[in-house]
């Protein structure tokens, strides 16, 4: 497989910056598409269950739009800071890349912190996932997104350590960063659907 890609590359690529073409980013894209299906399934469940309150509190009683707005702003800013980091990475600027990764990490951490606070408040009020079908589907969908963001944060730390440990930004590290950037921006796309269809549409 590796030899095949290298020989293919020798045939059709004579550019000054010569590197064997990798398909791992495309493979990661395909993974993201399957992840998309997972989220689509959870959105479908929420759409079906969103009015099954079992006599319990409704979305209008529970959702605080101000908190959601702050979470949305944080995630949106973290998307562009990761973008700045990738631009620095492609220019080979390690220090700037690490700075933007750190900013993105802190923003992601703030997002997760706010989400955990929101969830623990709901559970403390007795409105946990066991309260109604609406809350079960809400927690499943939003927590799955939160879990993805948390794993993205762990991944970010690991990549930052790799960048620190290796002298130069290698092609492999850049490829991994590219995958993580796709993952991070993808989670932002999912969050657009979450704040629109879960939070805003429920209180509109």
């Amino acid at each position: 497989m590796l030899q095949k890609t290298i020989s293919l590359d020798l045939d059709d690529d004579h550019s000054a910056h010569h590197h064997p073409e990798s398909h791992s980013v495309f493979g990661f894209w395909l993974y993201l598409m399957t992840d998309c299906i997972i989220f689509a399934t959870l959105f479908a469940v929420f759409a079906v269950m969103s009015h099954q309150f079992a006599g319990g509190p409704t979305a209008k009683d529970l959702f605080e739009i101000k908190g959601v707005a702050i979470e949305t702003a944080i995630l949106l800013v973290s998307s562009i800071t990761f973008g700045f980091g990738m631009l620095c990475a492609h220019r080979g600027n390690k220090q700037a890349l690490l700075f933007w990764l750190a900013v993105t990490f802190l923003l992601g951490l703030a997002f997760i912190g706010l989400e955990i606070r929101e969830f623990s408040n709901l559970v403390a009020q007795g409105n946990g996932p066991d309260r109604s079908a609406f809350l079960s589907s809400f927690f499943t969908l939003v927590a799955t997104h939160g879990l993805h963001v948390s794993l993205g944060l762990i991944w970010m730390v690991i990549l930052a350590c790799q960048v620190l440990a290796k002298g130069e930004l290698t092609e492999k590290t850049l490829r991994r960063l590219t995958c993580l950037s796709l993952f991070w921006h993808f989670l932002d796309v999912v969050w657009i659907c979450v704040f629109t269809f879960v939070y805003l549409a429920s209180v509109a």
């Binding site: 980013v25 495309f26 590219t178 993808f186």
Partner: protein, 113 residues
């Protein structure tokens, strides 16, 4: 600021965009997000109208993110990415639309709604 001749990594199915595309994407996203929140919090419209409008805004914002942040485009390099994405969208539409349609009919026939 961005030198287009520097392509350190060559990976099939990924371009890395420019500062301009990130800024444009960010500004558009901020405008669309604020519009969505204002429509809901300012209570200007009927519920069904408001939901239709914020759904449309979300769709536009998803496209903005795909183009500006995930760097999707119509180039031949991205052909398979876009094709996989199209298939995923189709699957998601069938999944969500079908579920809502079927469960709506169930509710009507069971007179539970």
């Amino acid at each position: 600021m961005q030198n287009p001749n520097v392509h350190v990594v060559k990976s099939s199915g990924a371009s890395h965009g420019s500062l301009g595309s990130y800024i444009v994407g960010f500004v558009l996203s901020v405008i669309l997000t604020i519009a969505s929140f204002l429509i809901v919090t300012e209570h200007g419209m009927a519920t069904s109208t408001a939901i239709a409008v914020i759904a449309a805004l979300a769709l536009v914002q998803v496209v903005v993110h795909l183009v500006c942040f995930l760097h999707m485009n119509a180039s031949s390099q991205q052909k398979w990415n876009v094709m996989a994405f199209g298939f995923t969208v189709m699957t998601a539409v069938i999944l969500i639309g079908g579920s809502v349609w079927i469960m709506h009919n169930v509710s009507i026939n069971m007179m539970s709604r």
